[in-house]
Subunit: 324 residues, 3 copies
């Protein structure tokens, strides 16, 4: 990571990874996000802070949910929003990614929200934009999904307060999950009591997320947990898993159910980043039941995206017209 | 139909079918729609009633015209609009339809505009949304297209006044037409003088639309009619029609022309829901001529959609924050 | 061309080609465009002139950049914007183009921005719309791209002042380029000193652009030029070019580089309409270097589109409600 996410005034400029943010900077994002929550059913929060500014959603990887969340976040802050679903081949992208960015920047786009299936694109863009322009990572390969990590932290904090004594179990395909990685970064930043990764051995990460304990048995992994987060499993994985040839066997071994959750804390909450495979990684009734905070995650996610968009405004307005 | 479209205060909440609406409820929609008409060429009507509210256009079936009509209707009421063209396979949809809805609802979407090629999706959604949320049917299989039925009724009323003494002939593929069905429901609700279905025997409906008379000869069917509505015929049908192997023969038998319209009333108007196959179900010069009210249907359609969006606002604002 | 682009009051109504505009009319567009420039990094210009009006971007040919430019131009003028990416086959388009236009017009669309890969579509639409409605050409086959020609002229004027003594070299596939054609029309209108076309003989135009000199050697063509404009070459062309079988050979013969540019004027500027094939028609470091005005072209392009949209407003508002 060779791009400064925080500018010299201490304000957020880019959001590409949680790995090198300070705790107080994350707290600032979540505090602002909390100010953008209204009770469900009430009119959504609005702010005119981005009026006259332009946000480009540059999605190289298809997404309905995250794109909708960023689009509504920007519109509720009164920005002009440009949706660009760009289908570039890898080769084409190498050639023309920066030209696309320079072109949009010359159209006075102020904020790029970028999603891409490969690694390094958000950093590459951030290194080349004008001094006042911001880049927000909306999902990068299996490496980083920082607004997801923030919304997961925010959701846990709102239910459990300080995470310092909590045990958080993340169940499923940890190895290929940008969600798990960003959640890990967010929770460790706040000195979480314990993080556990639970899943088939083939899907546990190699030892780059230090401090987490790994489990291959669900019962062991979620025992006495305060928070159990289930991850989406891609159907393509089943070919690679020796003992788990199909979704049915996966559900038998790692599917979260009311019954299996009995070994967790009585007040354990259940999370999932969506979209869910019901009956594969999670039982439908559990997802819809009182322990589930899955819809709150979505609501908090929109608030986090509003917060980040609003916070980078301070950088943009202070650095307009700076020499390159 | 097991969803209440009208709430306990008597206000419109959902619009899924015209079949169980009362006449006065339809009148209320059309009255409000009339208030959203400006002379063609004048600036379009605007209203800020949905400012701060979010409308999601959830189209599982492609549509340019109806999507554009709902999108402009929502924007002219100052709503934030989210367009989602969702390409779900039938199996995927079964699994994830409600999760998509719950997710968008957690993003504080207030109104879902839904179009789908299969039957039952709008009702299924309406049964599961939060108490303040509305669902509007923008076209459902061959079953229902209520805003189309309303715009057809409105267009006839504006030209002919009370429909109680009118003879209305609907020509074409009645059997597979949600347009015909919703028009039938609208006109019968207002005690239309006579409704006739005209088309090849294979395309006439089985006897579930009681009160309508069926004709297989065009001249008999439109004789002395006040209103002649032509329907779009799908090219795929020709394989199924014994005596009509191609568009040319269909035009010879059922194509509306100035000449054949001479048996109708001298002041008969000509309607078509669009998009037209000119030279198949209708002669181009007739569609563009003085009898045609086809473009008025489009304008009235946008007004009807503004009306429905504005009317459900009353439900939304009165029921925000209700317990589920 | 049988459509009047200027109305009887002398105001711009349509913009389909630069060929029959007067010099003062072009000056008026560029003057207004200049008023829509703000320093890069500053908030973009805004104007509420199109508030309550509707602009439809009707793109029959895919485009990211031009669509984004027109979309932001319309939004920054406060218009409601409808994006329609229409994938019509040639046959379908023949049948239903005008019905699509009539339908959108009945929804009170005021301005159609049209892009199409075939010739004649913008004129055909302009001939059939209501008296107050405007049609803007956003790229038409290899024939016309008027806002591109205007932005090229504007960019040269801002760097070099009066074009009357300038030598402008356009390098590449002139024959198939709507960009070259519209630039030629713009510059000749302003009595440019000299226009040169430079490229392989197969890509030089037949003699319909009189006044331009043709060159097959790059050094000859750009010698002492004040402005060198490189055009995008489509990969498909290489099969048709006898002596130039591949991009490498093309770059060797016609690729613009710092080194080869030494024969041009010392203060020559370099232009490209984008998207660039770096390393094929232009060296990357030249495109990014101090001679390049490529990003200014993009910024000026957005200002030109705002200008044109704002100028046709005068026609629209003066002609609302006119009889057809």
């Amino acid at each position: 990571m060779t791009v400064e996410q925080i500018n010299s005034q201490g304000n957020l400029r880019h959001l590409i990874t949680l790995a090198d943010l300070e705790r107080h900077q994350i707290e600032r994002i979540i505090d602002r996000a909390s100010s953008y929550l209204t009770p469900l059913g009430h009119p959504p929060p609005r702010d005119s802070i981005l009026k006259g500014h332009t946000v480009a959603n540059l999605f190289f990887e298809a997404s309905t949910r995250t794109r909708a969340s960023f689009e509504l976040a920007a519109k509720r802050l009164s920005a002009d929003v440009l949706n660009l679903d760009v289908n570039m081949s890898a080769r084409t992208k190498g050639e023309s990614l920066l030209d696309t960015i320079y072109t949009l920047q010359a159209m006075q786009v102020d904020i790029f929200v970028v999603r891409d299936a490969s690694t390094g694109v958000p950093v590459r863009i951030a290194k080349h934009v004008a001094p006042h322009v911001s880049v927000l990572n909306a999902g990068e390969s299996d490496v980083s999904h920082p607004t997801q990590g923030l919304l997961d932290l925010m959701t846990v904090q709102r239910h459990k307060g300080d995470v310092g004594k909590l045990c958080i179990a993340i169940v499923g395909d940890i190895k290929h999950s940008r969600v798990a990685r960003s959640a890990f970064e967010a929770f460790t930043k706040f000195d979480v009591g314990e993080i556990r990764f639970v899943g088939p051995v083939e899907l546990l990460p190699e030892d780059d997320m230090t401090g987490a304990r790994s489990f291959t048995e669900l019962d062991d992994g979620i025992r006495d947990a305060d928070v159990v987060m289930s991850l989406r499993i891609q159907k393509e994985r089943f070919g690679e898993l020796g003992e788990i040839p199909d979704p049915q066997e996966y559900f038998r071994r790692y599917g979260l159910t009311e019954d299996r959750l009995r070994v967790a804390k009585p007040d354990a909450i259940v999370m999932h980043p969506g979209p869910m495979n019901r009956g594969v990684e999670i039982e439908g009734s559990l997802a819809d039941g009182p322990r589930s905070v899955i819809q709150e995650q979505v609501t908090n996610g929109l608030a986090v995206r509003m917060s980040v968009l609003a916070l980078v405004y301070e950088h943009i307005s202070a650095n307009r017209g700076s020499p390159r």
